[in-house]
């Protein structure tokens, strides 16, 4: 038996389990149901049928702030996910208030949060428009950490970033997971990123999971036809390994 932090039936008969401190990836093309699944787990939408459990308890049984302290989210586009008229400090504080994290229970101070994500302490006074895309995504990560969650849902956290920033953010997320023991539900369409970050992966296609297992099993030896197609679409940066001719 494994100790599960989450258990899901969603979209069309989708089931999976995320262990404590595990990095679990949901991969597939747009429209495959990845984000819908994530939104159900974050309780932003309710499944029609089936059940999602967190630490053994159905998520519907948690109070809002209580669940807000268990699961937090990082979105794809840091230009859209941060409120433009709030300072970074306010954005981080607000995440805590809404999850009912009080002065007494709060762990890390704002400066520590910013330090974890590699931002200088005076960033707390900055507005989002004063920050670059990479810095904004770091703020979004700090916001997700502010409630000290057990699970972070990261929905395509690097796909709108530049190449040199992608590697920085992937390394940061991996580091956070190791240091703080937080589990990740990592949603991505780029399997080469999944390969570096996740332990296990589920491949989604048309709302169903077509293949899942450890990242090495699934991506090094895909069995499902759709997974094979996705793997084959990862373009090699080696000009002598052309798949396009």
């Amino acid at each position: 038996m494994r100790k599960a932090t989450g258990y899901v039936h969603a979209v069309t008969d989708v089931s999976f389990m995320i262990d404590k401190a595990e990095a679990f990836a949901l991969a597939g093309e747009s429209g495959s149901g990845k984000t819908t699944t994530a939104l159900m787990i974050s309780r932003l939408i309710t499944p029609t049928e089936g059940e999602i459990k967190f630490s053994g308890k159905p998520i519907a049984k948690y109070s809002r702030p209580e669940y807000g302290r268990c699961v937090s989210m990082i979105f794809q586009n840091p230009y859209a996910s941060l409120d433009p008229h709030l300072t970074v400090g306010y954005i981080l504080e607000e995440a805590r208030w809404s999850a009912g994290v009080t002065q007494a229970t709060q762990g890390a101070k704002l400066d520590e949060l910013l330090e974890i994500v590699g931002l200088p302490a005076d960033t707390r006074r900055a507005y989002p428009f004063q920050l670059s895309g990479g810095q904004r995504q770091r703020v979004a990560i700090a916001r997700a950490l502010a409630v000290q969650p057990m699970l972070i849902i990261a929905d395509e956290p690097v796909s709108s970033l530049d190449v040199s920033l992608q590697a920085q953010i992937i390394n940061l997320l991996a580091d956070i997971r190791k240091r703080l023991g937080i589990a990740f539900l990592f949603i991505a369409h780029d399997l080469s990123v999944v390969y570096q970050f996740a332990d296990s992966v589920a491949i989604m296609h048309s709302g169903r999971i077509v293949e899942r297992g450890s990242v090495l099993d699934v991506l090094d030896n895909p069995r499902d036809e759709y997974t094979k197609k996705l793997v084959a679409s990862i373009l090699s940066p080696d000009p002598d390994k052309k798949v396009i001719a």
Binding site: S164, K229, S233, L235, P237, D238, P239
Partner: protein, 324 residues
């Protein structure tokens, strides 16, 4: 390189903002040969799109000051009048834009918009069959439906295919594709690149592919220019650059691609990274613009711009760090 089709020499673009002149592109030179696929690689904010727009004469003098020489098939594009440029755009040189959802006019059908290209250049609207066949060329099977559709009724893949159909409809000799697959899903990316390559072979045009993705250029291009903060830091044949990247920025780009490790079946504890961001235009230092992030910087790099030096066969880089 075979015979030259496009030559860009000492191109500089300065945007005018609030009495201030902000340099976006500085002293960029490159050439594209006939039937060649040239890749212009760089991250956002490096000036890739500004260069493309400047080549087509799409930057208005009120917003940008453009200097340098652009020679297309013997004609100086920077010196001809606006009407000649209009005649050239779409017929001789055409462009495929990054975001297929934004590049189409939402209140006109795909067919009407493709017809405009013929209308502008040939003085009359084409027959419907001509548009259908342009759409079928990009492997759209139900061309009739797509022609009569409004952009919101079509998927991103179909919109991008239709844009390629429009760009190629008058058989231009140079196609500029600005991140043509970035907004698309991975499986579509491969299809669209394959399609572009096939059409390029069939029509014999040259292709300038603008992208931040090293994998995309590795799969398609024969030569590359690497752009950083508005300057070309390295140019050369694709194999030369990817096998022996000289400039530290090029090496960082090549090393930080997750796809590289995927195909080597390697999982790394940490991906190699360059710390920091591309500086904003207007916030460049005096010397090498990569200086603040460079792992191999020497004092000289801070104060003077390294000149372009030959580092291999047809391979040039602008860097003071000497390597063997």
């Amino acid at each position: 390189m075979d015979k030259q089709l496009l030559g860009v020499e000492h191109l500089s673009i300065n945007y005018q903002r609030d009495q201030e002149s902000i340099p976006a592109v500085t002293d960029v030179s490159f050439a594209i040969g006939k039937e060649e696929i040239f890749g212009l690689v760089g991250e956002s904010g490096c000036g890739k799109t500004s260069i493309a727009l400047a080549l087509l004469g799409l930057l208005s003098p009120a917003e940008a000051y453009v200097a340098g020489a652009v020679t297309y098939a013997g004609t100086r594009l920077d010196q001809i009048d606006n009407q000649s440029l209009i005649n050239l755009r779409g017929r001789e040189i055409s462009m495929i834009f990054q975001d297929p959802y934004a590049a189409w006019n939402p209140v006109m059908t795909i067919g009407q918009q493709i017809a405009e290209v013929f209308l502008v250049h040939q003085g009359r609207a084409p027959c419907q069959e001509k548009i259908n066949s342009a759409l079928r060329e990009v492997r759209i099977e139900d061309a009739e439906r797509v022609r009569n559709s409004y952009p919101h009724q079509l998927s991103g893949g179909l919109l991008q295919r239709s844009m390629i159909a429009m760009a190629l409809s008058l058989r231009p000799r140079l196609v500029i594709a600005d991140e043509p697959t970035t907004a698309l899903d991975v499986t579509l990316q491969k299809d669209i690149l394959q399609l572009l390559l096939n059409l390029k072979k069939e029509s014999g045009c040259s292709l300038m592919l603008i992208t931040h993705d090293i994998s995309v250029v590795a799969q398609t291009c024969s030569r590359l220019g690497i752009l950083y903060a508005g300057q070309i830091v390295e140019t050369g044949p694709i194999r030369e650059i990817l096998r022996n990247p000289y400039h530290p920025y090029t090496r960082a780009l090549v090393e930080s691609v997750p796809a590289k490790y995927f195909w080597q079946h390697k999982r790394l504890d940490k991906l190699p990274v360059v710390p920091g961001n591309v500086p904003e235009p207007g916030k460049f230092g005096k010397g090498c613009r990569f200086y603040p992030r460079c792992p191999e910087r020497i004092p000289q790099c801070e104060t003077s711009v390294p000149p372009e030096t030959a580092v291999g066969q047809d391979h040039k880089a602008s860097c003071y760090a000497i390597r063997t």
